[in-house]
Amino acid sequence: MISVSQLSKRYGYRLALQGVNLRVRKGELVAMLGPNGAGKSTLLRILAGLAQPTAGRVEVAGCRLPKQATGARAQLGYVGHQPLLYEDLSADQNLDFFARLYSVPAAAARIDELLELVGLQQRRREPVRGFSRGMLQRLALARALLHRPRVLLLDEPHSALDLQTADALDEVLRAQARAGATVLIASHDLDRVGGLVQRAVLLADGRTAATLPKAKLGRRLPAHYQRALEQSHG
């Protein structure tokens, strides 16, 4: 479902990604761990078609990027650092707008269902401008799920969420994976995503440093890596 080989990305003189390889199968829930600046967000943006790779091969949901980007975009949901919403519009209007862009069938019912899922039914008519960071994050998740994507890319989705909402988010992501969606989460918080994912890919300095299967996720990471993650975690 996601296939990346020998991917590199250069910003001016800086190499953000160098020869990254990654494969995530259908229905798999995978974490991409790494300290700040490891290249997680850059990789997610490339997979989402928001950035162009400098070199390498990228395939998402059977579509080769950047050539078949429009086809790939129809099948992926993305939650980034910013909620990608319009703050002058209400939650309802935001979802309705994106439902039109994605041609979501029976959009009104789907919007109801998602607002219920993320617990924003009561605030649906309020402008997003007044929402807390956590509420924005929940609405961003609803936006990403609107068109029932086959691939979900999430960049630090637990940030700004309280414990209860973060647990609810985990449940939503598990349900998505059970339904066959491929879920890739970028995080620097192993404690948070360790119990959720089936394996983790470690990124360091723009390279894939290691892959940890589920059985090893509870254990301590290599010392240098653990230190870097803890520093990112603040």
């Binding site: 928001l50 319009y86 994106f98």
Partner: protein, 224 residues
């Protein structure tokens, strides 16, 4: 995948709904135009005939500066709030974003023109019952918005976009402004269609070429 035209309409409707809620952009444009009308009206110590002769120039320079205010906001706010990424993620042709934004900008500009033209009519002794004048306003505004939206998308990526947009825009819209002023002046001063025809031709050609360029290049402009 949304059809091309429904995506264009959805983007335009979204911009109109957001503006309806905030009323920031159109209000700023209206206030600017009204202030300029009053400043010119009270500072130009000229007779009625001369006043009517310069009306078209004052009209278009005011609309051009007010339009720049709107254009500066149109894609910059999308960039600031990260919502442009939301648009770029959608499975629609990127040029649909361009046309949606251009139509929304055209709408805002026309609203400002419709609300402020009566004031011009009073201060510059103009008659508004001239279909030719309205045609020039529509064509000139379309040309201005089609090139302006394209350049606003370019400038939106820059840090000093408020400065960059006028610097890029005004040399590009100079033919539009000259043609619009000439054609409007012809109608305002009762010179008729014959006098305005060559200017109208320029506007029609420009109004076809610029959207075609937007259709072809918007994708590259909003690409990282």
């Amino acid at each position: 995948m949304a059809s091309y035209f429904s995506a264009v309409l959805a983007i335009m409707r979204k911009d109109l709904a957001a503006e309806w809620r905030s009323r920031q952009m159109v209000t700023a444009m209206l206030v600017f135009v009204v202030l300029v009308i009053f400043i010119f009206a009270f500072t130009l110590d000229i007779d009625t005939l001369t006043r009517r002769q310069i009306a078209a120039g004052v009209l278009w320079s005011t609309f051009a500066f007010a339009g720049t205010l709107g254009l500066n906001r149109t894609l910059a706010t999308e960039g600031e709030r990260g919502s442009l990424d939301g648009l770029l993620l959608a499975p629609v042709e990127r040029s649909a974003i361009y046309f949606g934004k251009t139509l929304a900008n055209l709408f805002f500009m026309l609203v400002v023109e419709i609300f402020t033209l009566p004031l011009y009519a009073v201060f510059y002794n103009m008659s508004l019952a001239q279909p030719g004048l309205w045609l020039v306003l529509l064509l000139g505004s379309w040309c201005f918005c089609s090139v302006g939206t394209l350049l606003a998308a370019m400038a939106a990526q820059a840090r000093s976009r408020e400065l960059l947009l006028p610097v890029l825009l005004f040399p590009m819209v100079l033919p539009v402004l000259v043609a619009s002023v000439r054609a409007s002046s012809a109608f305002v001063n009762g010179l008729g269609l014959d006098y305005a025809l060559s200017s109208l031709n320029i506007l029609v050609v420009y109004g076809l070429i610029m959207p075609a360029l937007g259709f072809m290049f918007f994708d590259f402009i909003v690409e990282e």
